[in-house]
C-alpha cells in the first residue's frame, strides 16, 4: 500500500532510533551510514541513576552509541585492576586439597584492598616490594575435640577448625606497610568463603602474595560479578486492543508492562511500563495479536547493571572504567607526539 509522506518520514525516524524486533529476526540493527556524520555527542546525552544498593548499581545512559557503551562494558569486565592472590608459598599442606587446587581457590577470593593504592609489580620481580604486594597468611590446624560426646557424628562437635574459611586469612604487613596504611584493614571481602575441609592431624600453612592485575590476564582480577547492559524496550500498540484480546496481551508480557483500563465499560489495554519487559516474544505466538503490536528497542538508551564483587563500590568502578578509556587515548596521543611519523 502506498505510504503517505508523514508515514514515510516516521519510518525513517523509526529506522534511525529504534531497533525493531520482527517475528523471525531483528531489523534495523545498524544505524544508517552517514546519519551521524558531523553530529556531536554532548547535546542529548544524560545519565540517570535508577537504583543503588550495596554492591549493585543500575543506571541509564541516554544518547550514547553502542561502540562507546560496549567499550565501557568491556573495560569494566576486563581492564579495571584489582588485587588478588597470585603466588602461594606452601610451607605445609597435609590436607586432602591438593596444593594447586588450594592455590587456585585462594586466587579467586576477592580481597578488600583499594587497588589504586598499589602499583603493578615489575615483570620478572620475584620478591615483591611493599608498594606492589600484600602478604596474607593462612595457618590452621585441625584437632580432635576431647570433650565431644562418645556417639556424636557431627563434625562441628568432634573437631576444632575442620572448616577453613576466608576469615582465617590474616594480613602480614611487609616492610613499612604499617606506616603507609595505618588504618587499613586488608582482608577478604567475605568472611565465610569455605576454602578447604580438614580432619584431625591435617594442617595448612601457606603464605600468599597479592598483586595488582587486570581481568584480561586472569578472571580472578575482574572487579565485577558481572556488568551488562540492555537497550530500553519500546512497545507500541498499533491498534486499540480490547476485552479478551487485552487480557491475552497482558499475559504475553512481563507483569506490570501492560495494564488494563476500564473505558466506557470496555477493557482497553495500555502500555504502562515497557522498561520492565524482558521480550520473550510471546506475542508472536498469537495469530490475532502479532500484527497489532510493534516490539522495538530504543537505539541509544542503554540500561547498565553493574554488580561489584565488593572490592570497590560500583559507581567507583564505572568512574575508573571511564578514566581507563581516557588513559588509553592519552597513551596513543603521547606516542603520536613523541615518535615522529615518517
Amino acid at each position: 500500500p502506498p505510504i503517505a509522506p508523514m508515514a514515510a518520514r516516521r519510518s525513517v525516524d523509526e529506522m534511525r532510533d529504534r531497533v525493531v524486533l520482527g517475528e523471525f529476526g531483528v531489523r534495523n540493527v545498524s544505524e544508517p551510514a552517514g546519519v551521524t556524520r558531523g553530529a556531536r555527542l554532548p547535546q542529548a546525552f544524560r545519565v540517570d541513576v535508577i537504583r543503588e544498593e550495596e554492591d549493585t548499581l543500575e543506571f541509564d545512559m541516554v544518547g550514547i552509541d553502542a561502540a562507546i557503551a560496549n567499550a565501557f562494558r568491556r573495560i569494566l569486565l576486563a581492564e579495571v585492576p584489582t588485587m588478588a592472590v597470585e603466588k602461594v608459598f606452601v610451607y605445609n599442606n597435609t590436607s586432602i586439597v591438593q596444593d594447586e587446587i588450594l592455590a587456585h581457590r585462594l586466587g579467586l577470593i576477592p580481597i578488600r584492598a583499594d587497588p589504586r593504592l598499589f602499583e603493578y609489580r615489575n615483570q620478572g620481580d620475584q620478591e615483591g616490594t611493599e608498594i606492589d604486594t600484600l602478604q596474607f597468611q593462612l595457618k590452621i590446624k585441625c584437632k580432635r575435640n576431647p570433650q565431644a560426646a562418645k556417639e556424636s557424628s557431627d563434625p562441628d562437635e568432634l573437631y576444632f577448625n575442620h572448616k577453613v574459611y576466608s576469615k582465617h586469612m590474616t594480613w602480614v604487613p611487609l616492610g613499612n606497610q604499617t606506616d603507609l596504611f595505618p588504618d587499613a584493614d586488608f582482608r577478604p571481602v567475605h568472611d565465610d568463603i569455605l576454602i578447604a575441609l580438614l580432619r584431625p592431624g591435617q594442617e595448612i600453612d601457606v603464605l600468599m602474595h597479592c598483586v595488582k592485575g587486570i581481568g584480561k590476564d586472569h578472571a580472578k582480577f575482574s572487579p565485577v560479578a558481572t556488568a551488562s547492559y540492555r537497550l530500553l524496550p519500546d512497545i507500541t500498540l498499533l491498534q486499540p486492543i480490547e476485552d479478551e484480546a487485552a487480557e491475552t496481551l497482558q499475559k504475553c508480557f512481563s507483569p506490570g508492562v501492560i495494564e488494563i483500563q476500564n473505558i466506557n465499560g470496555k477493557k482497553v489495554a495500555r502500555v504502562a511500563n515497557a522498561r520492565l519487559d524482558t521480550f520473550s516474544r510471546e506475542v508472536f505466538r498469537h495469530e490475532g495479536l502479532k500484527n497489532l503490536v510493534r516490539l522495538a528497542r530504543v537505539r541509544n538508551h542503554y540500561i547498565f547493571t553493574v554488580e561489584s564483587t565488593g572490592i570497590l563500590p560500583p559507581d567507583v568502578l564505572v568512574s575508573e572504567a571511564i578514566k581507563i578509556l581516557m588513559g588509553k587515548c592519552q597513551r596513543f596521543l603521547n606516542e603520536l607526539d613523541s615518535v615522529p611519523m615518517e
Partner: protein, 96 residues
C-alpha cells in the same frame, strides 16, 4: 604504534595491546569526521593482541590528523560522560 602507508592520506596504524574496546570506539569517533573517506579496524589474529587501524582521507589531509582528532574527541566524550555520571550519582544520593 607503527604507521605504514603509500602516501600521507592512507595510513594503516598498528596499535599494540589493543582490541575491540578501543578499536570500535575509536573507529566510531573517526567516522564522524567528514574528511575521512574510509576508516576501519581489524584484529589481525586473535592470538596476537594488536589491531590494524586504517584511515583514508579525501583530499590532501594527512591521515594522522583525523587519527589525532578522533583520539581527542574520544577523550572529550569520556570526560563528558564522566562528569555527567558523577553529577547524576551526586544528585541521586542527595535526594535519597
Amino acid at each position: 604504534i607503527q604507521a605504514d602507508g603509500t602516501d600521507g592520506n592512507c595510513v594503516t596504524f598498528v596499535l599494540h595491546d589493543e582490541d575491540h574496546t578501543l578499536g570500535n570506539s575509536l573507529r566510531y569517533m573517526v567516522m564522524k569526521n567528514p574528511d575521512v573517506e574510509f576508516c576501519g579496524y581489524c584484529i589481525t589474529h586473535p592470538s596476537e593482541s594488536k589491531i590494524n587501524f586504517r584511515i583514508q582521507t579525501r583530499g590532501a589531509l594527512p591521515a594522522v590528523e583525523p587519527f589525532r582528532k578522533g583520539l581527542n574527541d574520544l577523550m572529550g566524550v569520556c570526560q563528558h560522560v564522566l562528569s555527567t555520571f558523577e553529577g547524576s550519582m551526586k544528585e541521586f544520593r542527595a535526594q535519597k
